[in-house]
Symmetry: C2
Subunit: 415 residues, 2 copies
Amino acid sequence: VTETKGTAVAPPTTATNGRVSSSAQLAPSGAKDTLRFSSELRRTHEVTITRDLLHPGNPALRERIGDRRALVVLTPSVKRLYGRRVLEYFAGEATAAVEFMVLERSEASKSLDAAVEVCERAAAAGLRRTSPIVAIGGGVCTDVCGLAAMLHRRGGPHVKVPTTLVGLIDAGIATKNAVNHLGTKSALGSFHPPEHSLLDIAFLATLPRRHVVNGMAEIIKLAVVSDAELFALLARDGVALVESRFAAPAPVGAEVVRRSVAGMLGELARNPFEVGDLRRRVDFGHTFSPHIEVASGHSILHGEAVALDVALSSQIARELGLLSEDDLDRVLCLMREVGLSLVWPGMSVDALWSTLRAVVEHRDGDLHLVVPTAIGACAYLGIDAISPALLRTSAERLARRSAARPGTLGRRSRT
Amino acid sequence: VTETKGTAVAPPTTATNGRVSSSAQLAPSGAKDTLRFSSELRRTHEVTITRDLLHPGNPALRERIGDRRALVVLTPSVKRLYGRRVLEYFAGEATAAVEFMVLERSEASKSLDAAVEVCERAAAAGLRRTSPIVAIGGGVCTDVCGLAAMLHRRGGPHVKVPTTLVGLIDAGIATKNAVNHLGTKSALGSFHPPEHSLLDIAFLATLPRRHVVNGMAEIIKLAVVSDAELFALLARDGVALVESRFAAPAPVGAEVVRRSVAGMLGELARNPFEVGDLRRRVDFGHTFSPHIEVASGHSILHGEAVALDVALSSQIARELGLLSEDDLDRVLCLMREVGLSLVWPGMSVDALWSTLRAVVEHRDGDLHLVVPTAIGACAYLGIDAISPALLRTSAERLARRSAARPGTLGRRSRT
């Protein structure tokens, strides 16, 4: 751009509204007739562990909304179990501008039109650009609301209040969100950090056992690849935690959630928007599992699929001599003890293999299969390290090991 | 989080893949049991003015795609007028992984499912996380593709090649993108800067006259509020530029585009993600116009609606004594000369007034109506400064002024 060569067209500027700020600079580039527009977007996401979140005397959630209008989105379960308390919590004068909606979606119906449904309600409720969408529910609800916040007014704020174990230690503290599309898990989504995550393990008291077990899979995943101390806690008290919905042994439930949250966020902080190097320890258990969830028609929950993937990936590591038999035993034993299945008859070697090929695309040309090398350590495998024969051998070994003691997928409870 | 208090949980880290980089830090916050996750996303958007973009000897577009797979999205008009040249341009071996699609959408059908259609094609074409979506078309096409790139793999790269005048100086260089939903213009969207915008005014040679006039509205808008020299160029050569499709007078067409692009980007650089202070000079002409576009069933083009808004906002400034009669005359004369209408019979004062109330919501509680105070200068008006009576007076004055010489909206051409 001739008349601007050699001079900055626009000096660096900064704009801010508290938790979000941005800078930009416009300058000639080295190339002919080229302007370079450099922008920077900074966001702060606060994750707070609190107790009795819905007690009228706990100001945490109200303070975070402040005097802004807000749309509070509940799942049908949350409405049934906590609806009255939610209404009472927001009944004061200070928060008169809060509106509510119930979002009835499961993993099987976690689609883009769910996010649009929330956007439409947000528009009808008169949400402004700085008005938050507050999701109180499981991972489906917080994901859909995160994407809705991204689409409504091009990136409005959102607050996540997870009520499931997966939500507390994974979906409810994540930077990214997504919905499923045309049989592909998380096909459409965005990176859009929430303003706040408010975590209260008291919600687990009403969580069905199966969903507690489901969340344990994500905690075990994290422990196996990055936190041997957390693994030791789970090995000692994991079963009791499931049975008590994290209430007993008393300090351990909170400690496990704290360690998991700090560990997960620490892993995310390495590369929160997944640019460049796509090796992520938290992807352990997340290579085969999206396919498994979809192939099961979402009858297998996310964590259950993660557990199947953790088992298979660990067995692969064993076959390749990367993981000791003892450590493999410890991983698989813990999973079976808390009630997770190690195999699912619906998995074919062909399907697993074609899943790997699709993951290579998603991870930009490299597989980066995360496998444990010890409790608390991991390695990344390329597609060349895997073969259909290796998958078959690993699956067969797991099936034999599992036959002695089948997991919950064979004997589903109704609770 | 007890065990981490006083120490950084995760030190600052940086990840990069060339044009995108990010940093993050996880640290205890001052508040009890709170971790603060601070993230930063940096993106570089290069805007290049080139000539003969589709000439096989011009490597600009091929170089920017490099060895990556790409999905090139064309509009039906671009396919008809330039399809053969586009295919020839990409016919070499180096770019064998380029796939094509034709997106048939108008402003009236610029909806979320258009973006989903592009995402589906991107998935089918095997686009990876770093594979760009390349839009060659007008503002509808570049907007839809920008949003598709945001949703596909949570923020993939995109490249904009605008082929209309509005595209060259506005939509094709913008950081944000949006689609319409349920009768609301730009109701769903995101901020997602493209990697590259490649601008070639030669595309204007095949642009229908009405669309050249349409683009002139955005250039006049920019000139009136921020660039008196640009206004002088338009006053002198605007009509000739429209008639010649920016080919004559020879250096002026390129100069007008260069000034407009640098001016627009300079304005965007002040606050590219629209956080905090929402006063934006480039919002001149963009307060009443979204309603006008929708109310007309999109029979009025974007720039034509912007012109109606510019006229009304300028007349309001005159009524309030903020703009001289001479300067108002210069603005309105220039618009009529290039063929823009100043009034549309479909606008009622009631609708204009309720539009203002909705804009107050979008701009987070303040109207910030941009009005010119001279050629090259502007002010922002709050909702308290406007009344239905003021709108009525202003609209009536404009109608009388316009009656002497009606614009194109009354006598639409078919070209």
